[in-house]
């Protein structure tokens, strides 16, 4: 078996498929990329039994068959720089995969591929189209809020559903919640209601990153496939129910503060130096005196008081948070200023960007002491 293709095509296909290859797999073949030599094409496959990625690249091939090589070895070898349009030839010789570039040649030991698993197909599922950019934007805006514990698989997932002209992405670990609404321009039919494990959502977003086209999502009860020209990602999805989180969004804030994002980012950075092991920061908002203050105190380190310029309205409030939960959401706020809304001592704080299209919303629960 022998195939010739462009260097950059193989390089990017390997680096994408490598992501799904198992890192500590019990089965050696799971940490491999399976390369299938087909007529006029190479198909690269990898899976960790949670996500599977298949990529197809055009190639001049002679002979058909499969070979599995450790993903890390191949991708590291291809990470060398070089003329991206130079031809690359791969050939299967004596149980080795010989990779020839114009100036270098590598021989990689292959792994028996009989045990390489079949990546399951989504059978009789619903099909919907969505822009890859929308999917990436949604996943990236909320994934950090998902629960890292798998005790409740629903909370370790990103909930994706369709609401009118928006696809909504939500994640929560019950201490904070992030919601991103991504407009879908084409008035497409069919509802969406999915729970994608957040780890898999990162893989999906990374794999689709370099693309800007419409992908086809096909899902059944336990499985979703996302397909586009040359790539197919298959992921486990959770067959469960996401809590009806809209009921816990505070409706009428009692205190509101509008601040510059850069101000609060800088102030928090300094303040957290003195926060305790729970990252506790105390926020004091006094609309009468027009003060928004952040106080931190650590008996071993010292303490810090900092004021932030803010436009304040409503009642005065003093409330504590885990600063990590607040700083997490800054990555999803793309406007210069943001609003903090408080609804009382034991209620969640709502953070929103201040811009014409508010598509992001973030809820943080306060600390109770």
């Amino acid at each position: 078996m022998k195939a010739e293709t462009k260097f950059f095509k193989l390089k990017s296909a390997v680096s994408i498929t490598e992501r799904a290859a198992g890192k500590h797999a019990t089965l050696p073949v799971l940490s491999c990329v399976l390369i299938e030599f087909k007529k006029d094409a190479l198909v690269l496959k990898s899976t960790n039994l949670d996500v599977g990625i298949e990529m197809e690249i055009p190639a001049k091939t002679t002979g058909t068959g499969s070979v599995a090589v450790p993903a890390r070895t191949l991708s590291s070898f291809l990470s060398q720089s070089g003329d991206k349009d130079q031809p690359i030839v791969i050939e299967f010789v004596n149980n080795n995969l010989v990779v020839s570039l114009s100036k270098s040649k590598g021989t990689i030991k292959s792994v028996p591929h009989d045990d390489f698993p079949v990546i399951p197909e989504v059978s009789n599922g619903e099909t919907r189209n969505i822009k890859s950019k929308a999917l990436i934007e949604g996943f990236k805006a909320v994934w950090y809020s998902a629960s890292v514990s798998s005790v409740k698989p629903e909370l370790a997932s990103i909930y994706v559903y369709k609401d009118g002209d928006f696809v909504v992405f939500v994640a929560t670990d019950s201490f904070r919640l992030a919601e991103k609404r991504v407009p879908v321009s084409e008035s497409q039919q069919g509802s969406i209601d999915l729970l994608v494990p957040f780890k898999n959502s990162i893989e999906i977003a990374k794999a689709l990153e370099s693309m800007d086209e419409v992908v086809t999502m096909k899902s059944s009860k336990n499985l979703i496939s996302i397909e586009s020209a040359g790539i197919k990602i298959t992921s486990r999805i959770i067959d469960g129910v996401f809590p009806d989180y809209r009921q816990i969004i505070p409706k009428s804030p009692t205190t509101e503060a509008v601040v510059l994002k850069q101000d609060i980012v800088n102030t928090l950075k300094a303040a957290t130096v003195f926060s305790d092991s729970f990252n506790k920061i105390k926020l004091t908002a006094d609309p009468v005196k027009k003060i928004l203050e952040i106080t931190t105190k650590n008996s071993d380190v010292g303490e810090n008081d900092a004021a932030i310029d803010a436009a304040l309205s409503g009642e005065p409030i003093e409330i504590s948070f885990n600063s990590k939960y607040i700083t997490d959401c800054f990555q999803s706020i793309d406007s210069d200023s943001m609003s903090l809304e408080f609804s009382g001592k034991n209620k969640a704080m709502v953070i929103k960007p201040v811009s014409s299209n508010q598509t992001f919303m973030y809820l943080v629960m306060p600390m109770n002491r």
Partner: protein
């Protein structure tokens, strides 16, 4: 996972044993069925033993790497009609086992049990797969009360409400049977199914269980649950925005419509009119309707007659006060969900004290569980008594005079007449009502009722009480009067 399963099994066992207890006098078919289920419920342990044995054989046949990749997280879930259902963690494993190991697994299983004919795979939720590394929350941040909102937004059903968690006793046997009939044949019999009973008797649980079960059995049937209040609100805003037609069209796609607390429609004519058309649409196209209310449709005031008639045309069922044994089963079942066991005397005491409201029982058990956890010991009967005293609905103290005054005001007669010997018709009825309420609600002895109401003989009181009981069965107006009076006390 294991621990949850065990607990669930524990509950069903309690329920089933209690079942036998309730039905111990009758030799109904159901009784046998229950005993039988208890018999086959336990083999889960047999399954795991069987699968362990099978795994030993498989392990010797495949490589260690293969074994730990594909077989580590598998288990036998159940066996039905000769088919063994194997629980697997994901579709990848399913695909691979089906392709590579299907026949060998089947062969091994058949060596152990000749009755096994087939093998199928079920993807189990992987909750708790990594239970061991349960993370501790960064302590002091409060959590959102998310667990209360696990509601499916497509159908509004709360998946928590299923028949598995529904305690059946003589008091709700009939309603349960009717619900099961509806499930086996949605839209064809008992349409609409109308359940009524006071708050906290399990109407919502039963209705939602019907919805959840229909969803499970007929995946292409669309179920929708809503309260009548929400129906009203949404209709109201639809009317305001001039989108009434869209509102109505929305319901056309559902096959089963469940509406809770119908009594809120009382006096709202426009809602009733829209609801009436919706009702006809469902009924005419053979789609199932399930309703609940706190009263019999005949005595919901401000309800149009045409709706009343239509409700009555289906199956109208009462969920009465749970009987003592059922209450005990409920107490035990609720305890089991908290993983606590209470001594028999406490269980009896709780079920003796809280008579008519299952929700209250639930509340008290919550408090007991919480306190037991705080104090880290079992609560004594006295402590439970205190909890009950503070939390159960206070029984209002009322003198005989006050009661008589309320009743007389209601019937617009002179108070003295009740105590007099007169037997005029307009006085006899209220007097009987007073006696009935004294006996029924305040548990006063017949002789002392007689003594307090103008020195009457206790046989007179017994006669009045029995007469009221008989009349109540046939006279909806009387039921309505008594209920109104009770709410005024």
């Amino acid at each position: 996972m294991f621990c949850i399963k065990k607990q669930a099994r524990g509950i069903s066992k309690i329920i089933s044993t209690a079942y036998q207890h309730i039905f111990s006098c009758s030799t109904s078919l159901q009784n046998y069925k229950q005993v039988y289920t208890v018999g086959v419920m336990n083999p889960t342990t047999d399954f795991s033993r069987m699968w362990q044995t099978a795994l030993i054989e498989i392990e010797s046949a495949v490589s260690q790497a293969n074994f730990s990749t594909w077989f580590k997280e598998t288990s036998i879930l159940k066996e039905a009609d000769g088919t063994v259902y194997l629980g697997v963690p994901n579709s990848f494993t399913e695909e691979w086992l089906r392709k590579k190991f299907h026949n060998s697994i089947l062969k091994i299983l058949r060596q152990m049990n000749n009755n096994i004919r087939a093998l199928d795979y079920v993807i189990t939720k992987d909750e708790g797969r990594s239970m061991a590394k349960k993370i501790v929350a960064p302590a002091p941040t409060m959590t959102m009360p998310l667990q209360d909102f696990y509601i499916n937004k497509d159908d509004n059903l709360n998946p928590k409400y299923t028949f598995d968690t529904f305690v059946i006793g003589p008091f709700n046997e009939l309603a349960n049977a009717a619900a099961k009939t509806v499930i086996s044949n949605p839209g064809q019999v008992y349409n609409p199914l109308f359940l009524y009973g006071e708050t906290g008797r399990g109407k919502t649980h039963l209705m939602q269980a019907v919805g959840n079960e229909i969803k499970k059995l007929y995946p292409n049937k669309k179920v929708f649950y809503m309260t009548s209040e929400r129906f009203g609100n949404e209709l109201f805003s639809a009317l305001q925005e001039g989108k009434a037609q869209q509102f109505k069209d929305r319901f056309k796609k559902y096959d089963v419509l469940i509406i809770d607390d119908i009594q809120f429609f009382s006096g709202k004519e426009k809602f009733q009119e829209e609801f009436f058309h919706l009702f006809n649409l469902f009924k005419d196209t053979g789609r199932q309707l399930v309703f609940s209310s706190d009263k019999h449709p005949n005595i919901i005031t401000g309800l149009e007659d045409r709706l009343r008639g239509r409700f009555n045309a289906g199956m109208v069922l009462d969920i009465p006060e749970p009987d003592h044994e059922s209450r005990m089963v409920i107490v035990k079942a609720k305890c089991a969900t908290h993983n606590i066991t209470l001594p028999q005397e406490i269980v009896e005491h709780i079920s003796d004290t809280i008579k008519d409201n299952i929700r209250e029982i639930e509340g008290v058990i919550n408090i007991i569980a919480c306190q037991a956890q705080l104090k880290n010991k079992e609560l004594s009967l006295n402590e439970v008594r205190n909890i009950l005293k503070n939390n159960a609905k206070p029984k209002k103290l009322l003198s005989v005079k006050e009661l008589v005054k309320i009743v007389c005001d209601f019937y617009n007669i002179d108070e003295d007449m009740i105590y007099n010997k007169t037997r005029r018709k307009e006085v006899v009825r209220p007097r009987q009502v007073v006696m009935y309420i004294m006996r029924e609600d305040f548990n006063i002895s017949f002789p002392s009722i007689g003594e307090k109401l103008g020195n009457r003989d206790h046989t007179t009181v017994i006669h009045s009480y029995n007469k009221m009981k008989v009349d109540l069965k046939s006279d909806p107006l009387l039921i309505q009067e008594i209920n109104q009076l009770r709410s005024m006390l």
